[in-house]
Amino acid sequence: MNELNVISAPEHSGETFILNLGPQHPATHGVLRVKLTMDGEYITRAEPVPGYIHRMHEKMGENRNYAQFLPNTSRIDYLSAMHYTHAFVGVVERASGIEVPPRAEYLRVITSELNRISSHLVWFGAFLLDLGGFTPLLYAFDDREKILDLLEGITGSRLTYCYYRFGGVCNDVDDAFIRGTREFVALMRPRLSLYRELVTDNIILRKRLENIGPIPAEMCRKYGATGPVIRGAGIRYDVRRLEPYSVYPELDFEVAVQFEGDCMARYLVRMEEMGQSLRIIEQALDRLPDGPVLGKAPKTVKLPPGDYSYAVEASRGRFAVRVVSDGKDVPYRVKLRAPSFSNLSLFEEASQGMMLPDALAVMGSLDLVIPDIDR
């Protein structure tokens, strides 16, 4: 299997040059700069230079109360807003003992999984675009549009959702949402088969991804890489299963895993995850209990002094919020642990000796969202 592995530079000519990738480059999907030291077509060092859209969300967290900071969390990884707001309402609920009605927890799971699918669809389209295939993007965005319409109907936003509240969600869903979501699930399954036939089984795609950019489990551990990156390396690490939150323990789903650790493995994990998310949504809709969607929560939230954290499985991996409280209505410290940050930090080691187009495939397979790295 390793024969085709990372074709390394045959003989170092000793002469290198610097190549700037980004900060404005379509393959970096946002403003990320990578300073490449090249030996011909081969990379001797790839140093990512993040920070171009750093907004200092953590300082903003120290300057406004809990409810005021909540919308910030949906703007860190803009493709994963549901998961990020979930972590923040989760840490507040955990620290202050606010109860969440079961119906709200199920709605959180349904909307989170819809968000995961829409995020993976953006990755799917953009990744294929990076590899030179334009058409899948149009298909993926067509499917994603249906999710955005559904979520817009209940949250009012199409991207930076702030649907969760301390103690539940802000709006109950209507029949149109339930019907629409069921229709979407029925429609999406054949679409995933279509993607398998048209894209996954395509020989050109396989040649670009198989045995390219191996990221072994040990490297993931050392760098704290999570999400589809570590699951593509054979580790079944999923916060939904290993640090269970919300009603995930009541739902039946498999953690998608692949063992090769190459770009194809990470691709297959995400494709499989979309199918699993559909399964979760279907079960959650079947079990959706009646009742209120917002529990009792104080008008001004104050957390007891101490240190609390809450982790969720976002589209790109483990997102965790750590709040240090001194008992006031404004957090003393908010730490945002972003999955893309850790996932990108291994790029320098993983891309060494690789050809440039392969390194771009690796970068695409990490599914980076730059505002998530820069925060």
């Binding site: 993040p50 920070g51 750093h54 200092m56 953590e58 300082k59 120290e62 840490v91 955990r94 620290a95 489990a217 993931c220 551990r221 050392k222 760098y223 704290g224 890489a225 570590i230 580790i235 079944r236 690490y237 916060v239 299963r241 290993l242 640090e243 101490g306 240190d307 609390y308 954290s309 809450y310 982790a311 483990r318 965790a320 750590r322 240090v324 003393y332 410290r333 730490k335 642990r337 940050f341 850790s342 930090s345 291994l346 080691e349 820069d374 925060r375």
Partner: protein, 146 residues
């Protein structure tokens, strides 16, 4: 599940290891370390198969101290451990753990950006997220933004 990292040789301060209720705190085990112990503790975490979650800081300006928090998670069983060490605010120095966990490199650089904590032995502490010529540390409580 694993051997406690800092049960040895730290008897002078009261209970350096605390078992926490994950449902309330989001963490299973918390360890208070001296700055000279963080590298050894990282080594213990590494040997027990933990992954590095994050490294971050807290500015305890009233006590004139800075705290460094090392978060770990176990990729196979999900166990969460936090190690914390306090250092004086005037001489904010602590050894780097980037030799144990390569991923600490970026987390420590970020913590240096935000708090001005110098990680001794770190290969490159140039600003990561802040502008390349930044000399300020925005998460210090006395930072005013000029």
């Amino acid at each position: 599940m694993v051997s406690d990292p800092a049960t040895q040789g730290h008897e002078e301060s009261p209970s350096p290891v605390r078992i926490l209720d994950h449902a309330k705190r989001g963490c299973h085990l918390e360890v208070v370390l001296g700055p000279e112990q963080v590298v050894a503790a990282a080594g213990v975490m590494d040997e027990n198969g933990f992954a590095l979650d994050a490294v971050t800081g807290v500015d305890w300006i009233a006590e004139s101290q800075l705290e460094v928090i090392y978060d770990y998670f176990h990729p196979l069983n999900g166990m969460r451990v936090a190690a914390r060490a306090r250092i004086p605010r005037e001489t904010p120095e602590i050894p780097t753990i980037s030799n144990v966990f390569a991923g600490a490199n970026w987390h420590e650089r970020e913590t240096h950006d935000f708090f001005g904590i110098r990680f001794l032995g770190h290969p490159d502490l140039t600003p990561l997220l802040l502008p390349e010529d930044a000399t300020y540390h925005p998460l210090r409580k006395d930072f005013s933004g000029e």
